[in-house]
């Protein structure tokens, strides 16, 4: 959806999470690069959703089926448990109703994969502490008045939200500039966090 970020979460890391031959829905799929990788390396049946026409065009160019739509309108068209995986890659922080969307993701997907920039990482904390200014750095390259990011959270915030929503966390991948780090120090050091969430459909398999 927004590609001004200097780095994105490692697509290879996401690909490793995907069982071969499964179906994948990517919310905010951007230019379809992740879906292309999943299709080509995991033999996945893929579909994307994005709001921008230019991104739809890029997806079609890659032969990826895509729906132009607004995630803020929800996923009511999608049946419960209709996808093996519903992914939201770098998009959580730009949607208006993240809680509703996460609930929808675990309804539609047998497994949901969410990744987002960890606002609680050390650099952000230092910028706020030392300069008293909103963090602007290579992971968050936007000024406060000109940012698509309207719902930042820290890793710990997200864990808390999952607890409140009673969504089981299957596993996490914590990255610091594209290198995996331990979950123990992740809230302070991770620049990117990825959560694998268990779908709420009763017959979802135990992963």
């Amino acid at each position: 959806m927004f590609n001004r970020r200097a780095e994105h979460f490692s697509y290879e890391e996401i690909a490793r999470l995907i069982e071969p031959g499964s179906s994948v829905l990517d919310l905010g799929c951007g230019n379809g690069e992740l879906l292309q990788l999943l299709r080509d390396t995991r033999n996945a049946t893929v579909r994307g959703v994005d709001i921008e026409e230019s991104m739809i065009r890029e997806c079609l160019k890659k032969g990826i089926s895509v729906f132009q739509g607004n995630l803020d309108e929800g996923l009511k068209e999608y049946g419960s448990g209709s996808y093996d995986y519903v992914i939201m890659n770098e998009t959580l922080q730009v949607v208006h109703q993240p809680v509703q969307l996460i609930r929808e993701m675990v309804r539609v997907g047998r497994t949901a994969i969410v990744n987002f920039p960890n606002f609680g990482n050390l650099v952000n904390r230092m910028q706020l502490l030392v300069w008293g200014r909103m963090p602007v750095n290579r992971d968050i390259p936007y000024q406060w008045y000109d940012t698509p990011n309207i719902h930042f959270c820290t890793r710990r915030d997200f864990v808390q939200l999952c607890r409140e929503m009673a969504i089981p966390i299957i596993s996490t991948i914590d990255m610091r500039h594209n290198r995996r780090i331990s979950p123990k120090t992740a809230n302070l050091l991770a620049t990117e966090c990825c959560f694998l969430l268990k779908g709420s459909t009763p017959d979802a398999p135990i992963v």
Binding site: R57, C59, K61, S65, V66, Y78, S82
Partner: protein, 382 residues
């Protein structure tokens, strides 16, 4: 004059439906012989896998691209999209376009001669539907030696036929491109069609549809066209093009001789239309559009799409208020529920319903990508 090196095409006719082989229509009646006027562009590949059938809209015809002669002033109706290197790339694909059954541009319609009477059919011509048009097209395609079309593509009424193709012949259509269309016409659309038909039928020259060989109901037909034309545009498009400007006058004349530019434009459009269109065809085709309701016919859209095997590209336009985006979305969502392979894009542009004819820069690349994907699929599953 056609530009130098322009593609010069010759329309052809396919005649079928002899005594033993009549075309059976949805209404239960039979028709024959049937002539279908068509044109082709590009070449069929050795495996006969690159054929694309284009489906024209209400007032279109078989002449989709190129020129009929070097002296021809205007190219076909979708010339901007068809040709070497264009969206429907004739270096790669074999593109076919035919005039619909019930039409007045070379195919059999109400203005054709009824072999039983030796006189034009007029209103004795059977009421035809989208499905009947598609059945006739299928006969043409099979005559051309094509088992499976790479794609069917059309906007508006052409989009309806594209959908009908993928439903009626699930194994014979690899890709369906549906532009500015709908799976059913809603009350607003039916209402506008009714006004058009009323305009024609209230012209005394219409004479119950029996006017061939005499004076034709031009006034009625041109008013029908004016109403239709308004529905193809948008508030913004009309405002930008005409504003409130007066034709050939600076101020109001305070009489009824002055005309706003938009009035003059509609008069012109209505006037040129009668030269190339038959009033009865207007009545028949608009009725076919009114009758089109895929969900109604098959017991719900989901049921209609169950057996579809085509890959779909559905495009709608934000400023199209005749076939609004939500109608395209209904269709897309039903396809998604049926786990069909469908892509949907809503192009934000100001030209109203006519966008599918006018906007080529943005829909062109998407159509071209879609065709390439379908062609690759088809070749890999040979």
């Amino acid at each position: 004059m056609a530009p130098p090196n322009a593609l010069i095409v010759t329309p052809r006719d396919y005649v079928f439906g002899t005594e033993s082989d009549l075309l059976v229509l949805e209404c239960g009646r039979t028709l024959g012989p049937v002539t279908i006027r068509y044109e082709t562009y590009g070449n069929l590949d050795e495996h006969r896998q690159n054929a694309i059938l284009l489906l024209h809209a209400f007032s279109g015809d078989a002449h989709a691209a190129g020129y009929h002669s070097p002296d021809d002033a205007h190219p076909g109706w979708w010339d901007s999209m068809i040709g070497p290197g264009k969206a429907f790339d004739t270096d790669q694909y074999y593109v076919i376009c035919s005039n619909v059954l019930g039409g007045c541009r070379g195919s059999t319609g109400p203005g054709s001669t009824n072999p039983d009477t030796g006189r034009p059919y007029g209103l004795t011509f059977p009421v035809v539907t989208m499905q009947d048009m598609v059945t006739a097209q299928q006969r043409l395609i099979s005559h051309l030696g094509i088992d499976r079309l790479l794609a069917v593509a059309g906007g508006s009424m052409g989009g309806m036929q594209a959908i009908q193709w993928s439903v009626s012949y699930p194994n014979n259509v690899a890709g369906a491109i549906v532009l500015a269309s709908t799976a059913r016409l809603n009350a607003q659309g039916i209402a506008f069609n009714a006004v058009g038909r009323n305009a024609i039928m209230s012209d005394p020259l219409w004479n119950g549809g029996d006017y061939y060989g005499g004076n034709t109901p031009d006034r009625g037909l041109s008013i029908a066209r004016m109403v239709g034309h308004i529905t193809y545009l948008s508030d913004r498009a009309m405002h930008e093009r005409f504003g409130r400007r007066l034709q050939e006058r600076a101020g109001f004349g305070f009489d009824f001789n002055d005309q706003f530019e938009v009035e003059s434009y509609l008069e012109y459009k209505g006037g040129t239309f009668v030269d190339r269109f038959d009033a009865n065809t207007y009545i028949y085709l608009s009725k076919a559009i009114d009758y089109f309701d895929l969900g109604g016919k098959y017991g719900g859209l989901d049921a209609a799409f169950t057996d579809c095997r085509s890959k779909f590209l559905v495009v709608s336009f934000t400023s199209d208020w005749l076939y609004p985006s939500y109608q395209s979305k209904e269709m897309v969502v039903a396809l998604m529920r049926q786990e069909k392979d469908v892509s949907y894009v809503e192009i934000d542009c100001p030209f109203g319903h006519d966008s599918f004819l006018l906007e080529t820069d943005r829909q062109g690349p998407m159509i071209s990508s879609f065709l390439e994907t379908v062609y690759t699929d088809v070749q890999s599953t040979r």
